[in-house]
Symmetry: C2
Subunit: 326 residues, 2 copies
DNA sequence: CATCTATCCGAAATGGATTTCAGACTGGCC
DNA sequence: GGCCAGTCTGAAATCCATTTCGGATAGATG
């Protein structure tokens, strides 16, 4: 049915080997032959069978991408970045969504690993040691997670948190709540660590943990109000939006009575009223960088095991933060 | 490096053929042998090389999924459904995002088609005739689009629109604007068609077309206000949210001065204030149904070319619609 | 003119699983 | 005992592209 290399060979009057060479190692074949082969390949509509190629080269031309939850707009953005960069490099992308199930991650990785050259693991929830055994078998790049000897792309969390807290303290806030996300999320641990490092400037009330979703924020809102703070930082924008929503329902003015600050800068943050002040984390850019590191890992495995890219974050001041109430 | 069928064969003391049979056509081998083979396969951690299998069977065990824009929360939901169902059936999913570029679609499909058994095309923007030539080469199922002789999954648009309009007329609205989405979107054409069929009950003002995004809604908002209507239906929730946002900025009360209604029921719709009345379209469910049809198409190509599944829509009444102003 | 060196190309081996075909063995039946 | 059918298994062919190895040709050199 499909056009094979033999068809091209026959029509072009050469052997299969020559066809391969003409297409993948052009300098090895006579210019004239090369052109003839290429033209017939085009006219016949020949595309090498990837399974056959993969069989012999051991490469698939695919990469895998694992995310915890596509329902969180943060991840589709990362996915877009991964896609874009992967397609540029002529790789196709396998996507899998774990539904925030840490125990499903390893299985999915192992399953994907047979059909891809490498995997971008975005915000994996599994424990360090499990992760470490995984990367022993498969080329893996981490996005939004960092462990020793594995290439990773992460935001500059300490700086991100510094920007957030500086903004709040500049507005007069001293007693600030943090609504924590999943304990298993590295990003949560890092945010917390960065935040605790700043307690010389502020008094920190930790609330949670909650799921990194709108409902998580709604669930934590009343505890935040009971904690008698003037500002609250949500684990991410969805949590912050949940807070906003519940505050509004209880008649608490934002930012009049309390300031709310999120993380991520999902598109949604600018769409609501009041719009959400948030720390924009690299998303598409992180996805692209993840693929970059992965491709590098695939081509020079030794040199890049420790490659690490930290991308800057940017505070986006919007309507949900303001001066402390008088 | 990896465990091959030969390793299993050697250890189990049988031939490679027997290993295959024990694993894929169990009834053909002696129960005792079968068990021995299976156990050694497990202990050795054998997994058949998919490239090799694909080479001979012509099947990849993969399906492709094409969506216009992951940035629109509608699509990640569909993706989740596709993923879930595909994984149940032991298929992996290639995802590609076209960035709302109709001209990129065909190329991506063709590229994907080599490495998948079939493709779920979600809300494709390309013209009918182009689509028709594509489906000649590749098993394709359409989600959110319908053309003759191609299996498709669509919402019950006429009923969806009927629910929307009934709701608005019950509230007293008679002069209603529709902010149209992309002309190339089949869903837009269907919404418009269903809407025009209802003009005996209402006076319809058509505005647009706009991109199916928040910005599109913002851009159309002032035209809506100038049109002197008491209610507006957005092409989708993002457009409706854009309208809401701009109305608020201009001091127009929703639903006091104007009612706003969207389509899709993305998670966001319930998170904003006022929350958005919208017609919930099947999303995950549509994704699952799309995979179902595709698997059916792959197993019995003839019987199912015209398979068509229409899924019900449900009006979600929330805060953005109310009685006409007095 | 003989020898050597590039340059270019083809034949054959390769990768791993599946499928076809044929052989070995068992049991049943005449 | 001989033949047949049925059951189970192995050898070999197959899928397609790539890679290795060696052969052929042309040109260069002494």
């Amino acid at each position: 049915m499909a056009v094979t290399i033999k068809d091209v060979a026959r029509v072009a009057g050469v052997s299969a080997s020559t066809v391969t060479r003409a297409l993948t190692m052009p300098e090895l074949v006579h210019p004239e032959t090369r052109e003839r082969v290429r033209r017939t390949a085009v006219t016949l509509g020949y595309h090498p069978n990837r399974a056959a190629r993969g069989l012999i080269t051991g490469r698939t031309g695919n990469i895998g991408l694992l995310v915890p939850d596509l329902g969180n707009p943060f991840f589709p953005s990362v996915v877009k970045g991964v896609q874009a960069r992967a397609h540029e490099a002529d790789y196709a992308v396998f996507l899998a969504d774990t539904d925030e199930d840490a125990t499903a991650e390893a299985g999915l990785v192992r399953r994907l690993s047979k059909q891809v050259d490498g995997i971008v693991l975005c915000s994996p929830r599994m424990p360090d040691e499990e992760l470490r055994t995984l990367v022993a078998d498969t080329p893996v790049v981490l996005v939004n997670r960092r462990i020793a000897k594995v290439p990773s792309v992460t935001p500059e969390f300490p700086d991100a948190m510094r920007q957030a807290v500086s903004h709040l303290t500049a507005l007069g806030h001293r007693r600030i709540a943090y609504v924590a996300g999943p304990r298993s999320a590295w990003a949560n641990r890092e945010r917390l660590r960065s935040l605790r490092a700043l307690t010389k400037d502020i008094e920190l009330i930790e609330i949670g943990n909650v799921m990194p979703m709108f409902e998580g924020g709604v669930a934590a809102a009343d505890q935040v109000l009971a904690a008698d703070v003037t500002a609250v930082i949500g684990y991410n924008d969805l949590v912050a939006l949940g807070l906003l929503n519940r505050f509004m329902a209880r008649g608490v003015a934002v930012p009049g009575d309390i300031s709310v600050l999120g993380f991520d800068d999902i598109a949604l943050a600018a769409m609501v009223h009041p719009s959400l002040t948030t720390v924009a984390l690299p998303k598409e850019q992180a996805g692209r960088a993840g693929v970059d590191l992965l491709l590098q890992l695939l081509t020079e495995p030794d040199r890049s095991t420790a490659a690490r890219r930290e991308l800057p974050a940017q505070l986006m001041v919007r309507g949900s933060t303001g001066p402390t109430p008088a």
